[in-house]
Assembly symmetry: C3
Homo-oligomer: 343 residues x 3
């Protein structure tokens, strides 16, 4: 395992060290689980109580918490980001030996960089381009004309339909399906006529897509995911959706077709976003919310009710169904009141 | 790319042409993105404003909009369906060369039509039948006794457990799992006893199933999907569910076990339907709704609340929790009121 | 197909037989669909009406219903569990011939028991251990250092990232992804810094995981699933989640990172559970509920509203948005009332 001295880490990431620069850390740990030779961090006040008793060799903290640490500290303006960067040094992604596994089925017109790694049972169709140092995991399928950028990694069992383009430094997890047909159907005399989905999927640089997430190809124009977009697992992105740079979406979200989501949005888990909407830059939506109208201003939006005792909730629902008449009754009382309180 | 003259298209699909029948269109485009040689359409009033400035060579419209088009028009009773049919002519699905890829692992008892196309690394177990012109994508698995009808296409990485039957002209997208065990569990003294799932999955003709959708096998009888049913991505269909002909279900919907959904229903995205229910023909359910009772009459049903400002919503929820006592207070006022307003 | 006499079944499972012990049953059936030679059961009062007309050769019932059966009965304290155990005798899982398919790509340092069955196109990386009688389905991927316990079955197309450990007698369905990176991101000056996910996934004994379910690896410590946990399809389990023994979770549930769920919980379909929460042992959550706070006591919890007519619901929502002012109006009336009803 890689190791690094605290002095080196402080220099490399521009952190202030209080402690012995010669001390070496070899892996990361939680404050509670830390042992000698590990580095931990404090970024969430909820875990502050574990700082005093940590057995880590060093802790990444902000200035305010530094004095409370019983061990060496690396002081950072943004401890979580500094921890993330150090963890990437201590736990580097395993390097893959370049080369194409002998079982790969590859069309002669496909171009694969010599520095790329193509795992067993991968299928690469005509006209594909795979960039420098890209990694394609076992059993992944690249349809005709797909492009995988430099340093992008596809996990095992990813499926890219024809014409999917992925930028550089991406990370696409197992089970992801990019470019399946959008849900385009015309109704005619009670039967469905399939609307051909002739657009593609275009994904920017530095995008991570979680396991079993699906992004449909555009009906005519492309479905477009911006740079530095982060999608969690089991998200469904409909055809023609556009997602702006730096937006992050948590697991189980569904975005219906032709909706545009701005930049730097944060969408909570299991949110449902209807089709043909515009979501402004900087919008935050909390978990399980239904977005059925455009959100034209940045802000935080919600609509889910938190759990309560089931019996109490049943009474609330029963009453809620009659809220309309309750308004009427109150209006009626107000009218009566105005009669009983003469001027 | 295929091309077609407007005259030919008008004749073939029974449309009225206003314009030069010799003009050839080669691909489809949006009204805004259209260039010479493309065909566009207007089916959603929302895009009406783009008609006047379109650079398409022709537009499919209804009679009412025809006069507003600056270019040739193909006039249709149902412009979206007419567009869909024309788009299928201009953008035909790529034809697959018949044959079995040398890497396919196929049981000698399986029957595969000579006109079918079986991609690399497909596994076909004993007793399977694959129909004429069927296409089985790379890495797809057909368990023992599966049946794939004529002209049905399975994308790469589909999994069919034993005994799954799919009709003709179907389209099954990547990551779909058909026939996994239903969630059948008997509780006994605090532990779970698995209930064997011995039914299968039976899918009609002209069915499309979206990426990463799952349909469980029946516990005893089969899980059954009717003809012309359209399922979007990431839908979960529990064991013993029955779905009637021409029903369409949007993405991320879950249908629990033993529920029957009628014909020509439309179920919105992320709807949850509880188990052992009956949903009548022609029911429409809007997105994120919870269906926990049978819906015995056609109609439109809803239960989700649209997003609002998070702070305002928190106040609504806080109040909602006390709605029961608000009813009591109003009743009390009404009682008091009857005292203050004599005779 | 296996068959068993009623006498043998009664003896083997400790049931009381009323009927001919020599009668043989060969398969299971529903009460309505049963024919001679089949065994049925009655465990849900909803189906009681079908008992009197069943053509099954025998029915598993409780003591109270035994007298209503027109055919032989096997009387059980818990008819559903007894049925489940008998069904497993009549419909045994197909036995797989031990051995490694010649197409398997396996690292020389991996250890696979001679009694295990490894299907076509499986990839097994360095340091993996596959236990006695384990079955690994076609196209499944085991990353470096994975452990699969004795008698555990992985369906086709399962993906296990590095270091995933699965106990004995497990059943992992197709499309499952275990050990993909958790959604760990630090925000820094508007961009995302990936937080390395260095924990693994540890799954106990007797665990079933439904199709296309995803369980992320821990950020530092492992994501942990207890013994006898049952997960339905399309569930998303975030990093560092811990689930206690005997808990069952229905389809489409999302559990965000670092949440702990106790033992013997039952979580309904499409429930969303936020991150960093504690859910006590024995908690039951009904479908589509949002759990956004810890639930520290056993009980049943809900928050979803059942479907109603869409027009009525729109009125309810419109009123609900003004519930705050309704409270104010009622308070105002109460104030006025106190003035108009003098002591």
């Amino acid at each position: 395992m890689a190791g690094a001295s605290l002095g080196d880490l402080a220099t490399r990431f521009g952190l202030t060290l209080r402690g012995d620069p010669e001390v070496v850390v070899r892996s990361v740990a939680t404050l509670q689980g830390a042992t000698e030779g590990t580095l931990s961090f404090l970024a969430n006040k909820k875990y502050q109580r574990h700082l005093a008793t940590t057995a880590a060799s060093a802790v990444v903290v902000d200035d305010a918490s530094a004095a409370d640490s019983p061990v060496a500290v690396l002081i950072a303006r943004n401890p979580y980001a500094a921890y993330a960067r150090i963890a990437a040094v201590l736990h580097p992604a395993p390097t893959a030996a370049p080369g194409v596994h002998p079982t790969v089925v590859i069309d002669p017109t496909a171009q694969v960089a010599a520095s790329a790694t193509i795992g067993p049972y991968v299928v690469i169709e005509a006209g594909c381009q795979v960039g420098e140092r890209a990694v394609i995991g076992a059993g992944t399928y690249l349809g005709p004309g797909c492009v995988v950028g430099d340093d992008t990694r596809l996990a095992p069992r990813v499926t890219c339909y024809a014409g999917v383009r992925i930028g550089s430094r991406g990370l696409i997890h197992a089970g992801v399906v990019l470019g399946a047909d959008g849900f385009g159907l015309a109704q005619d005399r009670g039967e469905w006529v399939k609307v051909p989905q002739v657009g593609a999927v275009c994904i920017g640089d530095d995008v991570e897509i979680g396991a079993n997430t699906t992004i449909d190809r555009g009906a005519i124009d492309d479905t477009t995911i911006g740079n530095d977009v982060k999608l969690d697992n089991q998200i469904q992105i409909g055809h023609n959706v556009r997602i702006g740079d730096h937006t992050a979406i948590a697991g189980c979200v569904g975005v219906a077709g032709s909706t545009t989501i701005g930049s730097r949005c944060m969408i909570g888990g299991a949110v449902g976003i209807a089709g043909h909407l515009e979501i402004a830059d900087g919008v935050v939506v909390t978990g399980l919310t239904l977005v059925s109208r455009s959100l034209t201003a940045p802000g935080v939006y919600s609509s889910a009710t938190p759990a309560m005792d089931a019996g109490d909730w049943r009474r609330v629902v029963a009453r809620l169904r009659h809220i309309d008449e309750l308004f009427d009754r109150v209006r009626s009382l107000e009218g009566a009141g105005s009669k009983t309180v003469p001027e």
